[in-house]
C-alpha cells in the first residue's frame, strides 16, 4: 500500500432494509483485499455495520466514506435525519428509541453506539436535531 490516501464513498438510503449492510460488507471486503489483519477488518466492519443500521433505521439518507491512510482506517458517516438530542444518553447501553419494526430486524436494542465505541480507537459524534448526525470512527492500523 502506498502513502496515498484511499477514499471510497457509499450512498445509503434510509428505511432500505433489503440493502442495509451492503456498504459495510463492501468496506470489509475492500480492507480485506488491501491486506489488513483480520482483527482490524472485523472491528471496522462491525463499527461500520452498526452505524449503517442506525442510518437506515433513523435517517432519510446518508453517506458512508471509507478513508485509509498508513496510520488509520476511518469511517465517516453523515446522515440527513432526526439527529440525536442527547448524545450522552444515546451512548448508554440499552437506551433506545427504536420502533417494534426496527427490533424485528434484530437491531434497535440500544447497543449500536456503545458497540461502535467498543470496536474503534476514536469516535466523534456531532448531531443537530432535525438536521442530521455525523460520526467519525477511527481504528489505528498498528
Amino acid at each position: 500500500m502506498t502513502d496515498a490516501e484511499f477514499v471510497r464513498a457509499y450512498d445509503v438510503a434510509g428505511a432500505d432494509f433489503t440493502n442495509a449492510g451492503r456498504a459495510s460488507t463492501s468496506i470489509k471486503e475492500t480492507l480485506k483485499n488491501m491486506g489488513f489483519a483480520s482483527t482490524l477488518v472485523r472491528r471496522v466492519a462491525i463499527a461500520a455495520y452498526e452505524a449503517e443500521m442506525n442510518l437506515v433505521m433513523y435517517a432519510r439518507r446518508g453517506t458512508m466514506t471509507l478513508k485509509v491512510t498508513p496510520d488509520d482506517v476511518t469511517i465517516d458517516v453523515r446522515d440527513e435525519g432526526p439527529g440525536i438530542p442527547d448524545i450522552a444518553l444515546a451512548m448508554q447501553e440499552g437506551y433506545t428509541t427504536a420502533t417494534p419494526e426496527m427490533r424485528e430486524m434484530g437491531f434497535g436494542a440500544g447497543m449500536g453506539l456503545p458497540n461502535i465505541q467498543r470496536n474503534t480507537d476514536a469516535l466523534a459524534i456531532s448531531s443537530e436535531v432535525q438536521r442530521g448526525t455525523h460520526l467519525v470512527m477511527r481504528v489505528h492500523v498498528s
Binding site: 472485523r42 452498526e50 424485528e104 434484530g106 437491531f107 447497543m111
Partner: protein
C-alpha cells in the same frame, strides 16, 4: 448467550484426554438433526456458538468461527454472519427461510441450516456438543 469451543492453546499437563476431534459444521449439524439448506463444506470448523435474535448482541458476543442459532429469519442475519466472520447460521423452530435470505447466504458464502427444534433445545444441544464431555468452567472444551 454464547459459548466458546476454542481449544486451549496450552492444555494443562494433567488433562489426560486424547485430543478432542475438532468441532465442525458437520458434527454440530448431526447433534441437532438440522437440515442442510446450503453448505459448501461440512468440515469447516466451529469455534463456538452464539444464540440470539438481537443481531447487536451477536456482534458483541460472537467471535470469529462461531455458529449463530437464531429464530430470526431476515437478510440482516446473513449480513451479521458475514460482518462477524461467523461459521454459519442455524435457523431454529423450522423457520421458513425467505428466498432473499437464501440468495444472500449463497452470495456471501454463509452456510445455512434449519432445525425443527426450539431455539432453547437447539442451543442446549449445541452447548452439550461444544462444552460437553466434562467441559471446563470457563466454557472451553476439555483439552
Amino acid at each position: 448467550m454464547s459459548t466458546d469451543a476454542r481449544t486451549s492453546p496450552a492444555p494443562p499437563a494433567c488433562a489426560g484426554n486424547a485430543a478432542t476431534p475438532a468441532t465442525t459444521l458437520g458434527s454440530v449439524r448431526l447433534a441437532i438433526g438440522a437440515d442442510i439448506v446450503w453448505c459448501p463444506d461440512l468440515t469447516a470448523p466451529v469455534t463456538g456458538v452464539v444464540a440470539a435474535d438481537l443481531m447487536s448482541d451477536v456482534l458483541v458476543d460472537a467471535r470469529p468461527g462461531y455458529l449463530l442459532v437464531t429464530g430470526l429469519a431476515n437478510v440482516q442475519v446473513i449480513r451479521t454472519a458475514t460482518i462477524a466472520d461467523l461459521a454459519g447460521v442455524v435457523f431454529a423452530r423450522g423457520k421458513t427461510i425467505p428466498p432473499d435470505v437464501l440468495a444472500l447466504a449463497r452470495e456471501a458464502r454463509v452456510p445455512v441450516f434449519r432445525c425443527q427444534r426450539s431455539l432453547f433445545e437447539t442451543a442446549g444441544r449445541l452447548y452439550a456438543v461444544v462444552n460437553g464431555r466434562a467441559g471446563n468452567a470457563d466454557g472451553r472444551p476439555p483439552a
